[in-house]
Amino acid sequence: MRITLREFLSRDVTQQYPEERWMQAERFRGRVDMPLDPVTGAHKCTLCMMCVRACPNGSLEIVQGKGADGKTRILEKYIYKLSTCTLCGLCVEACNFDAIRMNHDYETATYDRQALTLILNEPAGPETQEEGER
């Protein structure tokens, strides 16, 4: 009894979620996301397909398109199926060009399944956080 009273008087440890936000750790693995290279302003992806092969759940898919001069291959669509992704981080490790990373976005619930299939390489990209506020 004495102990529960002591707990009764000690401060509470819960966190009021919507108001107080949890500051994730630096290495927090949220959703996969393709930031813009601050130097060139473009995506760093070189279509080497390493990440697609590394992903155990087949949630990455790259659609290639023809470049302006008809020969070079350019990245058309970098499709990321968040619905099958298990946030294991193997793709980020496999990428040698540091093109993709896992940002701190953990509120990824949506109302319809299609919204879970994201196209990561649009210039703006789905509300990707800026490079700074990682």
């Binding site: 102990i3 529960t4 630096e26 290495r27 927090f28 946030l87 294991c88 193997l90 490790e93 896992m102």
Partner: protein
């Protein structure tokens, strides 16, 4: 309900002629039930409140992880093992990673081994803290659940800082660990050790010495040593029955050989013994952590291994998770994907003794016994 074949079960007590005419009846405990810790269905045959026979039905969360392993390459399988015994995900990672390293007899750098021990013991602390909360909730003391989780939260925050996830860590890699420690890691681990020491004394006072708790656990669900061995129980369940068997000592692996810690053993094998063994194990884990943090070797954390392709052949390795020994039987044909993988789940065997030790006890005791076995259902169904 199909009539369950009575593999193990007690016949009803003989009815004296003039006794009140009572009937036995079947009751479904699960798959949705507050104290089965997941989707486990126990069909109980009751006579009033006394359990005459318990027939567990498994497989509600069977994802056939073993079949999925045949599709993925070796590194990809590591993240699958997070989802087996999710309360000691670090240690289940280690079980898989150790199997592949043994198959390729790959040398793990010293710092990687020590980090694995630290992370495994932290995970054991978090898992036992969670079990403590859930077990007290099963017996009715709801507030102890929150105290258990308050302690566990510190460890989970540390893991988030270390590897980025709070439950499915995927921190270990074949050949070592994926990332080195964060700068404030040592300080936080020592902080956790202090908190757990104080918390364990508080739990002792709140629960262990509590008369009602002792009445609900002492002498209940006796699992004799011989039966425990026969049923293949392991971990705190086996040690609770008085058998001193801990893989970290009997089948040493990793850097456990460097640290002094003793293996708590129960005597009778009732719920209280299993409870005491786990509480003592938490203290031993704190001891290991303190020794490990003070002597952290330098150097790389992962061996650089190019192609992970174990030669043709098979290995069987075991690791001590928070619930018992988790074995990995790996058969490889030299390809990039394993030919056959079998995860020996500690909870599967720990639960197999339940139908025998739950007979004759009340429904409330069945809940207490199941809680003391500390089963994690995805680990059973795989």
């Amino acid at each position: 309900m199909t009539q369950q074949p009575a593999s193990i079960g007690a016949p009803r007590a003989p009815q004296s002629k003039d006794a009140l005419k009572t009937e036995e009846y079947w009751i479904n405990m699960g798959p949705q039930h507050p104290s089965t810790h997941g989707v486990l269905r126990l069909v109980l045959r009751l006579d009033g409140e006394t359990v005459l026979q318990a027939v567990p039905h498994l497989g509600y969360i069977h994802r056939s992880v073993e079949r999925m392993c045949e599709w993925d390459t070796y590194p990809q399988i590591t993240h699958l093992t997070d989802r087996l015994d999710y309360l000691s995900a670090m240690i289940t990672n280690w079980a898989w990673v150790r199997a592949v390293e043994q198959a390729m007899n790959l040398e793990v750098p010293e710092r990687g081994e020590v980090l694995r021990v630290i992370v495994a013991e932290l995970n054991r602390l978090a898992s036992h803290a969670m079990w403590f909360g859930a077990y007290c909730m099963d017996l009715g003391a709801a507030s102890a659940f929150f105290y258990g989780f308050r302690e566990r939260e510190m460890v989970v925050d540390l893991f988030e800082a270390l590897c980025g996830q709070r439950l499915t860590y995927h921190y270990l890699r074949i050949g070592g660990v994926s990332a080195d420690l964060t700068p404030d890691f040592e300080k936080r681990v020592l902080e956790i050790c202090e908190t757990f020491k104080r918390a364990l004394d508080e739990y002792e006072g709140l629960v262990t010495k509590n008369v009602v708790f002792r009445q609900r656990t002492e002498g209940i669900g006796i699992l004799t040593a011989e039966k425990a061995l026969g049923y293949g129980c392991s971990g705190p369940v086996l040690r609770g029955s008085g058998v001193k068997h801990d893989l970290r000592k009997d089948d040493p692996y990793g850097a456990y050989g460097r640290y002094q810690f003793d293996v708590p053993v129960g005597s009778v094998g009732d719920c209280m013994d299993r409870y005491k063994v786990r509480m003592e194990e938490m203290r031993q884990s704190v001891r290991i952590l303190e020794q490990a943090i003070r002597a952290l070797p330098g150097g790389p954390v992962i061996a650089d291994v190019k192609a992970i392709r174990p030669p043709k052949g098979e290995t069987y390795t075991r690791v001590e998770t928070a619930r018992g020994d988790m074995g990995v039987y790996l058969v490889s044909q030299g390809a990039a994907k394993p030919y056959r993988v079998k995860f020996r789940s500690p909870c599967f065997s720990n639960l197999s003794c339940f139908p025998e030790i739950a007979v004759g006890w009340k429904v409330a005791d069945a809940v207490s016994i199941l809680g003391s076995l500390d089963v994690v259902i995805p680990d059973i169904d795989r």
